[in-house]
Chain length 155, copies 12
Amino acid sequence: MAIASVLEPQARDVTAAALQQTLIDLIDLGLVAKQAHWSVTGPRFRALHLQLDEVVEAARRHADTIAERTAAIGVAPDGRASTVAAGSRLTEAPAGWQNDRDVVAYFIDAYAKVIAGLRERINDVAYTDPVTQDLLIAVTADLEKQYWMFQAEQD
Amino acid sequence: MAIASVLEPQARDVTAAALQQTLIDLIDLGLVAKQAHWSVTGPRFRALHLQLDEVVEAARRHADTIAERTAAIGVAPDGRASTVAAGSRLTEAPAGWQNDRDVVAYFIDAYAKVIAGLRERINDVAYTDPVTQDLLIAVTADLEKQYWMFQAEQD
Amino acid sequence: MAIASVLEPQARDVTAAALQQTLIDLIDLGLVAKQAHWSVTGPRFRALHLQLDEVVEAARRHADTIAERTAAIGVAPDGRASTVAAGSRLTEAPAGWQNDRDVVAYFIDAYAKVIAGLRERINDVAYTDPVTQDLLIAVTADLEKQYWMFQAEQD
Amino acid sequence: MAIASVLEPQARDVTAAALQQTLIDLIDLGLVAKQAHWSVTGPRFRALHLQLDEVVEAARRHADTIAERTAAIGVAPDGRASTVAAGSRLTEAPAGWQNDRDVVAYFIDAYAKVIAGLRERINDVAYTDPVTQDLLIAVTADLEKQYWMFQAEQD
Amino acid sequence: MAIASVLEPQARDVTAAALQQTLIDLIDLGLVAKQAHWSVTGPRFRALHLQLDEVVEAARRHADTIAERTAAIGVAPDGRASTVAAGSRLTEAPAGWQNDRDVVAYFIDAYAKVIAGLRERINDVAYTDPVTQDLLIAVTADLEKQYWMFQAEQD
Amino acid sequence: MAIASVLEPQARDVTAAALQQTLIDLIDLGLVAKQAHWSVTGPRFRALHLQLDEVVEAARRHADTIAERTAAIGVAPDGRASTVAAGSRLTEAPAGWQNDRDVVAYFIDAYAKVIAGLRERINDVAYTDPVTQDLLIAVTADLEKQYWMFQAEQD
Amino acid sequence: MAIASVLEPQARDVTAAALQQTLIDLIDLGLVAKQAHWSVTGPRFRALHLQLDEVVEAARRHADTIAERTAAIGVAPDGRASTVAAGSRLTEAPAGWQNDRDVVAYFIDAYAKVIAGLRERINDVAYTDPVTQDLLIAVTADLEKQYWMFQAEQD
Amino acid sequence: MAIASVLEPQARDVTAAALQQTLIDLIDLGLVAKQAHWSVTGPRFRALHLQLDEVVEAARRHADTIAERTAAIGVAPDGRASTVAAGSRLTEAPAGWQNDRDVVAYFIDAYAKVIAGLRERINDVAYTDPVTQDLLIAVTADLEKQYWMFQAEQD
Amino acid sequence: MAIASVLEPQARDVTAAALQQTLIDLIDLGLVAKQAHWSVTGPRFRALHLQLDEVVEAARRHADTIAERTAAIGVAPDGRASTVAAGSRLTEAPAGWQNDRDVVAYFIDAYAKVIAGLRERINDVAYTDPVTQDLLIAVTADLEKQYWMFQAEQD
Amino acid sequence: MAIASVLEPQARDVTAAALQQTLIDLIDLGLVAKQAHWSVTGPRFRALHLQLDEVVEAARRHADTIAERTAAIGVAPDGRASTVAAGSRLTEAPAGWQNDRDVVAYFIDAYAKVIAGLRERINDVAYTDPVTQDLLIAVTADLEKQYWMFQAEQD
Amino acid sequence: MAIASVLEPQARDVTAAALQQTLIDLIDLGLVAKQAHWSVTGPRFRALHLQLDEVVEAARRHADTIAERTAAIGVAPDGRASTVAAGSRLTEAPAGWQNDRDVVAYFIDAYAKVIAGLRERINDVAYTDPVTQDLLIAVTADLEKQYWMFQAEQD
Amino acid sequence: MAIASVLEPQARDVTAAALQQTLIDLIDLGLVAKQAHWSVTGPRFRALHLQLDEVVEAARRHADTIAERTAAIGVAPDGRASTVAAGSRLTEAPAGWQNDRDVVAYFIDAYAKVIAGLRERINDVAYTDPVTQDLLIAVTADLEKQYWMFQAEQD
């Protein structure tokens, strides 16, 4: 069974590609944030432990919105572990306990990468689907706010 | 910095291994349930769409409990995408739209696999850590309830 | 007494027309969804009975937003029964008990029509009022999500 | 498929007619109250804007109760826009901005008409269905309370 | 110690009998609904599993109201298992797993029986106690709504 | 300014008289229950202190309903202190600290008197206003439940 | 049974007298506010109807605090209807429907009287009981705020 | 349709028997607690009336957990009235009004019986299913807490 | 320490200027709305007193969003009292008690000024930052709705 | 590191001493109330079990306020077990099960002692710190209310 | 229109002056706390970002209480930006990003200044208005608690 | 009056001893956590101040569970200040202000001691009472999680 697209085929494909990469980055952001939530150590443990759960919650919420938008334009999203492992723009998080300073540095890098991708895609979909563009802008606004916060808490 | 273990080294290693595999299976269960939440089709779409979000919520909650237990016995858990993709006991979910009947069948199989592993590990940790055993039993109780429900809704 | 418009007269008229037609379609969507909520029969009765109340709730909420936007640009909206009966883009819903399969088909058709109109109007107001455009995009995003769901639950 | 009636055919028809007219009047009351909620002007704008939303909420809630009662006695209710436009006992609301004093006067007239009809129907169903009679009495009690309030706030 | 009755002895006895039978039927309705909640199978498992818990909740709430009304007219109600098993108007539910279609059919029959009894008793107490009559009417209104829903979801 | 009555003059007068006496009794019930809430002593102090606040809350809620019904039939209710002091059917509560046993006895007597009046008035308004009758029945149902509870807790 | 006082006899008597008069004034304030809540008419009906219910709520809450303080210093408070009718400092409220302007004027007068009494008593108890003084100050603060609001809404 | 058991056949049968008897005892505990909730009299009426509703709530919640565990190991639970009447370990509750002292004595006896059975079954399932054992332990913990409370409130 | 900007320097400066002026206007709007909340008098006191608190709440919420967006693009916002006093686009509110009619007129003027500035800035940032543009559009939508309401409530 | 005091050294010392003794008494009140909550027996078990938890909750809340006030005037509070055991004004609670009548008597004595100390300290701090005095008055008001309640429930 | 004062003219003027300066300091405290909430950087960013929002919330809440008290004694408060900028006792906050250590130091200084002023005014109003004195004491208690916290978190 | 034990005398004594020591340790943990909550200083003040209140809340909740379990096996628990001061396994907390680093070190030591005791007692009660063992395991799981967190936040 196929879901009819509200977009023309070409617009649908460009838009779906933008959404699919965003989905993968957001799922991975949620996974690495949980990973750091569990493995961070150092005097700022508690502050980061709590902050990272907010990152997880936001990443999961945005991922759901993006995936359901993909479905809404008639394309099945792909959020499986192997797809995420293979396609995420994020640097793989290190294994083992992680120092709080390193955690902050890791996420500053991660946000920079995810945001750079999103800003490109906001342009990509500008002429293919204003609805998708609006969702990507909203996700970007939230991630850029979090990006500022991680930068602000650097030593 | 190291976290002191409340367990002797050998007990800690056996227990950590049991927790680590459980963590991976639960994270993957959450990912494939979201995947099916987005891609299921058919007359039972809505019932499964809602039920699968409850599966996601439970899998995420249990994963967090298990990972924090791993940390509590002095071992850093590993819940990264590549670790999940490589080590999960679940059969990889198919890409694309999925028929509701196939989704039910997929999850009956998935639960059978995850539960079988958990029942083994309940025995493995029986003499290494009663606290961990108690947590694994609680997770198993919940998953076996969900397993019954997916079986009960087969055609 | 007149409400001063934040828009120039011509921009106001184009924008008001886009909002007025959207208002009518959304009020009618709410009425036919309630109608189906009461008269649907068949094995999927309960799933649709509940889903249709969510459609009603969303349609009413969006209609209120759209009507208050019309007022905010200085034009009195018209949401009276005769205006809705005469001007709605939706096919009139059938009288009497309705089979669940037919209900799903009816709403797939209804969403297609309402969405097509909205996508035209997103273009119409692009140069007359970015604020109204933003609201129409948000309504469209929600309706296209619901449209996918009704498609996904077809037999 | 037919829904078996808990009433004898004749009692069912009399009762269903009473419910159907009540449904139409209540749906229209909800529509004109929203219309006035958006288009009222004058120093009492805010008080009426808020009060009218309570009228809308009550009218919608009662309409749902009445329509589901119709279904419960085995008859499909009809709440479509054209049915409402054609059959409502209310005077059609005027188009455009409405002065607050005129809004109060309009609703005093509207309540008088809806209540008069309800009081007749309370008698009509007294011997056909005590359950329906009880629901009509409860709706009347609420509308007569609102009728008093609109009267009390006249200049 | 005796509770003084607000009714004359004969009126009290007629009213108490009507309440006592209603109590038994409602307790049994709650028990068989829980039984089906646990043992239903088939594609509509989840919809019925959830719907039946609402039936349970309503049956328990109404039973409590009816039993406390019995006490309020000075008679001790009897809701013990053996009294319910011996006196309920419902057909005994079958043991073992139950097909979803059969569950729907069973409850259509159960509601028909309980409602028929209630409608008789609404007449019985019409001249003995208007307060009790009002409560029986309210219970009947709710059960007839549920009766419609089970009928509507037949294949 | 006068409020138009939904009732004929004679029916209005009979109904208003029934409501007015009910209002006075309920306001007084609320006042004596607060009085006892503050002045009760003895081993059952706490149980009665809490129970009496529920009596107060119910008496106030019913009084408001009854007074607003009086207004709704076009007559201004009178709930002033001197009117209550002069017209209440209740025996005046004693001054000073009150023994818990005496408090229970006082309220058994008070409920008997208020209920007796209500049951007369349910008959009085049977042919003048079914809406008011329904409200009086609902108030009576609640008071008779409380009456049972005070009787049941006698030594 | 007597409640031991935390105060010396003379201090107790002065304090109890201050509390008792405050109690009566607050109960009466609650009663006249409800009376006006039901009988006010005019264009400001709704604003006053809602505002007066806040007055009622506050008056009842303060009355409870004051009465329980009376008990806490070992004296049984007296809040019976006849005591209130005989001893209140407020001018008796007029019977029948009341114009909104007159309602505002009545409450400005009522607050002036109650506050004047409270300010005297704040001095009276300054040397007998600082705890009671603190409660009277808190009640005065709230009533003076309401007094300002009624003054501010005069024509 | 059969539900696959996570247990071997023999373990399943032993476990299911333990769960089935627990289910019956808990349903009966809920029924007799409601019975006493309605028919208790004496100075402790209110305390017991409220306490017994907590017993009902807990018994129902535990019964649901136990029945769903039975289903989860592949066996349909049986909670029908006749099964409960025939198989409960509790002494049948007496008919009619019950003195508060007798109610306390009855429940001390009832808890002793239900708990004795549960402690046997905790042993029975120790080697057949640790998951079920954990649930039975949790139910026992709660019932033993309630058992202490009824004992503590004896005269 | 500096916060890296997600924008190029020139785009950042244009965007930051638009955000900074918006911040100042919104903080001032919140301050003057509180000022009027405290000093308004006249028959519409209560309606405006409540409405103005909603204005305050919205102005504060939007100001926070705008200031955090400024930080997110790497520029420290300035919301100090002297900056607001010097740079706000609003006419200074008058000191002392303010008549309700004058308050309405003052806010109609204030909204007109703030909105005019926002509409210019929506254009200014169209090519520098779509994320900021989206936030300014959302703020404008809300303020234009409030602007309509103040206009609608003029005499 | 030292916390600067808002008080002059001598005022600080007098105030801190008053706060420190209050803290100890309140912590001990919380401990003995929990002790009685667990060990009370007799027909009033349930009433006291619940009431004592409210005592615990209030004692803990007040203790926290008092301790934080101590810190706020620049002195570290001392709430350690040995300090409480050595310095509390309360008679030590008896070990083992306690009869309900004895529990009531114990707390009447305990409140009398704690309140006597508080009333002295309200005077002590009158000229050293009005802020602390205000907090002690508020604590006293609450404890005197509880003192009345325990007295009122004596046999 | 003038608001009648509950105070004599001279007492009113002294009291109003104390309230007006308090109002200005609290509004400015709220503004500089928001300013720091947005511009703080350093490892303690998150802790201070959250803590400062609590400061803002408290400052706003106290400012509202103080301003409404000013109105209640018959004087219009002045909380406009220019009044705050000109009259605040606080040192102006620095522009630009602020180091976390500096933020803590700034607020220690700010609290010291605001509290010093409040303690003077508590004395000033001691003989002019005990109600206002009580409010100033409550505000001081809260600010001194926050002052301790900022001191306690210094390096 | 004695509470009948569900355990044999010897099992009861062993179990009661394990529970009693756990109770003392948990009460003391709650007291020292509150002590540190009030007296901690240093840059991590706020993080620890909040974290320690969670420790307090958990310690109190677990203490209540453990004490009520003691009662449920027929033994009165002892949680008096002198018992805690004399019998706690924790090192006494230091008096005066405490540096944040020292607070973390103190609690790491405290958790190590309490947990070591609990792990012994889990073994002690393994053959005397599985219900108690289950509760001790649950308490241990929670404390070990907190132990990890304090370790993780060391410098």
